[in-house]
């Protein structure tokens, strides 16, 4: 007897009271989720509202949520005090460069690990896996020295090159590449295709969701990162935007609150809006990629 047939039966049999309880519980849960979600977003809302207020109303108690005196003064102050536009460009450029670069690196390596046989393959892969569990900040000291002697200190490149190796991406893509049926590859080989062609014409087209998922995970990781920019970058015009805001806050005991709120709003709101629209594809990609952080 299939389970799905029993529910209407049970309902008709008069378990309406427990269903009532279930419905009530679901309603409560919904309410909690709605209110909870709203509370989660409240901090950003507060920052956003404050960023448009004149300075005498900002960061005061009680907080001013509604006012007719809206102004862009804080935004103007932000761009006066730090080269924020340049910093935003740096953030975007670094993220894009790392995503594109590491995707290429990961795809090439994952393909070799997944579908080719070569001497030392498994040993190398296990060695690579060690990088997966290791939070690389532990090795910050020697890495700093390396970057210094490569002449990359205080350059955006210092944030890009070390980040091109994303072991997680190699791991994920290898898992996925292994699932590609051998017949397709053999067909391609019979036609005379070399490795790069197989990669480009067979493997990659079948793997876009996994590649997108890796790209999104990498993008979030780089965008979110504070440690490495803080360590390597000292010039304001080379900083990524969040680091610029942190240094603005540290400025001589009088961190200009309005400008900081403006910067925070610029960093948060467009990304949040973007996310609302691409949520479904993101979920699919992540679900496809399986469990990940």
């Amino acid at each position: 007897m299939s389970g799905s047939d029993t529910f209407p039966l049970l309902a008709r049999v008069g378990l309406s009271r427990s269903l009532h309880r279930v419905r009530l519980r679901r309603w409560l849960v919904s309410a909690v989720l709605v209110v909870g979600g709203f509370t989660m977003l409240l901090p950003e809302l507060w920052v956003l509202v404050n960023s448009f207020e004149p300075s005498r109303m900002q960061f005061t108690l009680p907080p001013v949520w509604f006012t007719s005196h809206l102004t862009l003064a804080s935004y103007r102050q932000l761009f006066d005090l730090i080269p924020f536009l340049m910093q935003l460009a740096n953030s975007v450029a670094v993220t894009v460069a790392v995503v594109v670069g590491s995707s290429v690196v990961s795809v090439l390596a994952a393909y070799a690990f997944a579908r080719l046989e070569f001497w030392g393959r498994d040993v190398l892969f296990v060695a690579l896996l060690s990088g997966l569990m290791l939070p690389i900040q532990i090795a910050a000291i020697p890495e700093f020295i390396e970057v210094k002697y490569l002449g990359l200190l205080n350059s955006q490149l210092s944030l890009i090159f070390p980040a091109l190796i994303q072991v997680f991406g190699i791991f994920l893509l290898r898992e996925h590449f292994k699932t590609i049926p051998d017949e397709l590859e053999e067909a391609a080989r019979l036609e005379g295709a070399g490795e790069l062609q197989i990669l480009r014409l067979v493997v990659v087209p079948l793997s876009w969701p996994a590649i997108y998922a890796t790209a999104i995970i990498t993008a979030q990781y780089i965008w979110n990162d504070f440690f490495w920019p803080n360590l390597y970058i000292t010039s304001a015009s080379r900083m990524v935007a969040p680091l610029g805001l942190v240094t603005l806050q540290n400025a001589y005991q009088s961190g200009p609150v309005g400008a900081i709120f403006a910067g925070l709003s610029i960093l948060v709101i467009p990304v949040a809006v973007f996310f609302v629209f691409v949520q479904r594809q993101l979920m699919e990609g992540l679900g496809f990629a399986g469990i990940s952080r």
Partner: protein, 450 residues
């Protein structure tokens, strides 16, 4: 079924693809320096901030803050006009001297050329021990007359302290062009509206407490603000109660004395009674004082740049720190040393001479770094005092009783410990007596390490 293999891949197309990628990468990496150039060429306060494009002969690192940078820029232009030496200021915006030193160290490590910089008493021994300061003896001998005339125009007590603490193995590493002592800034309008009479120059802790209590009104109006650091935070209270932080030879920490404990307890009571906001948070004291939400704050002359730039200074005045046992204040000397790695030492010496010249002292001392000019003739002149809020003359008067601020070799560790303990006391995590006892033993451990 569309066989993807029908699309043949030619070697040329693979080559073409990689060329396109390389071109994109090249364009991208060429684009950013151009963008940077354009960004720094704009006439904004953070422009001219350049450890990326060193265009001039001289690079001067300044502990600035976002608000005061424009004011300091004008001063640099004056030096350039006078001497013809193209100078690139490098503004480093941090909250404390310790952070500033770290930033300098980081840049030196990264290979940035810095010729001279703000040096405060707090950091002198730290930098000297790392060998980054060049001795000035030969330059001083060259321009003996100028330097001696300057020394003669200094407060002689300060000169004696300078000779005691600022020379290592008989070498001189800096000439102090300016100084800061502590006073209380207050908003006259707030006092008037609160019907409290303005403080007199010899007011006491009790007078201060009465004023703060009368002028505090939750949730937005505070009587006083306390900062977590050695110079502005803990030392004025200790010194006005007759206490000490280090012994006079700076070889050991003696902060665990009853006067200091009492001073810390008094400061703690201000926070406990909610007359001052909880320290260490995000409180814009300059802005609040200007707007009248804060009645009093402790500082040297440096906030003046903020008010020149942002307004709000017209209602402000300055008085000496309230006394309990005696008048007291820390004093910190400001100078421009010459860095050992500098490739423009002669030009840097010109800058040093400029900093002790009368025109700099009168016109640029306060704007460039927020320090009072060392020359008594200038500091006491009416024309100079007219540019500052009423009461600035008390800063100069404080030189007669001020104690040099702590400036030992491992400043980061020792100052950090003092700051941490002070904050814990103010917040109530630890009692003043326990906190200072612990601090003394810890600091002594670190002093012996140095």
């Amino acid at each position: 079924m569309d066989n993807p293999m029908d699309k043949k891949v030619s070697r040329r197309s693979v080559l073409g693809g990689s060329l396109k990628a390389a071109a994109a990468l090249g364009a991208g990496s060429a684009l950013f320096p151009v963008l940077e150039q354009r960004a720094t060429a704009q006439n904004k306060p953070w422009s001219f901030v350049s450890d990326t494009t060193s265009t001039g002969k001289l690079t001067v690192a300044i502990l600035g803050n976002a608000a005061s940078n424009t004011v300091a820029l004008k001063a640099f232009k004056a030096f350039q006009a006078q001497t013809g030496i193209i100078t690139t200021p490098l503004f480093i915006n941090v909250a404390t001297w310790v952070d500033f030193f770290e930033q300098i160290e980081t840049r030196l490590i990264a290979g940035v050329d810095i010729d001279t910089m703000n040096l405060a008493t707090e950091g002198f021994r730290l930098f000297a021990s790392k060998g980054v300061l060049a001795p000035l003896d030969t330059y001083i001998a060259q321009d003996k007359a100028t330097v001696n005339a300057f020394y003669a125009d200094m407060n002689q007590r300060t000169l004696a302290q300078f000779r005691q603490h600022a020379q290592i193995d008989g070498h001189t590493y800096y000439i102090p062009w300016g100084y800061n002592t502590m006073g209380i800034w207050y908003n006259r309008k707030t006092f008037k509206n609160g019907k409290v009479s303005e403080p007199s120059p010899d007011w006491t802790w009790d007078d201060f407490l009465a004023a703060a209590t009368a002028l505090t009104k939750a949730p937005n109006n505070w009587g006083m603000n306390l900062t977590i650091d050695v110079f502005q935070g803990i030392e004025p209270w200790i010194f006005t109660n007759g206490g000490q932080v280090l012994n006079s030879a700076w070889t050991s920490c003696v902060i665990d004395n009853p006067a200091a404990v009492e001073a810390c307890a008094f400061a703690r009571s201000l926070v406990a009674k909610k007359l001052a906001p909880s320290p260490g948070g995000t409180f814009n004291q300059f802005g609040s004082l200007g707007q009248g939400n804060l009645a009093m704050m402790g500082a040297g002359i440096w906030p003046w740049n903020y008010y020149v730039e942002n307004g709000g200074g017209s209602d402000l005045a300055i008085v000496p720190w309230p006394k309990k046992v005696q008048q007291g204040s820390p004093v910190g000397l400001a100078s421009f040393p010459i860095l050992e790695g500098s490739k423009s030492k002669d030009e840097a010496w010109e800058f040093v001479k400029y900093s002790i010249s009368e025109s700099f002292q009168a016109n640029e001392a306060v704007p460039i770094e927020g320090g009072m000019p060392m020359r008594i003739s200038i500091a006491n002149s009416k024309s100079f005092l007219k540019t500052l809020p009423p009461g600035a003359e008390y800063f100069t008067a404080a030189l007669e009783y001020a104690t040099p601020v702590v400036g030992v070799t491992n400043a980061s560790a020792v100052e950090g410990d003092i700051d941490t303990t002070w904050q814990q006391i103010l917040v109530g995590s630890i009692s003043p007596s326990a906190g200072l006892a612990h601090l003394q033993s810890k600091a002594n451990g670190e002093l012996n390490v140095s």
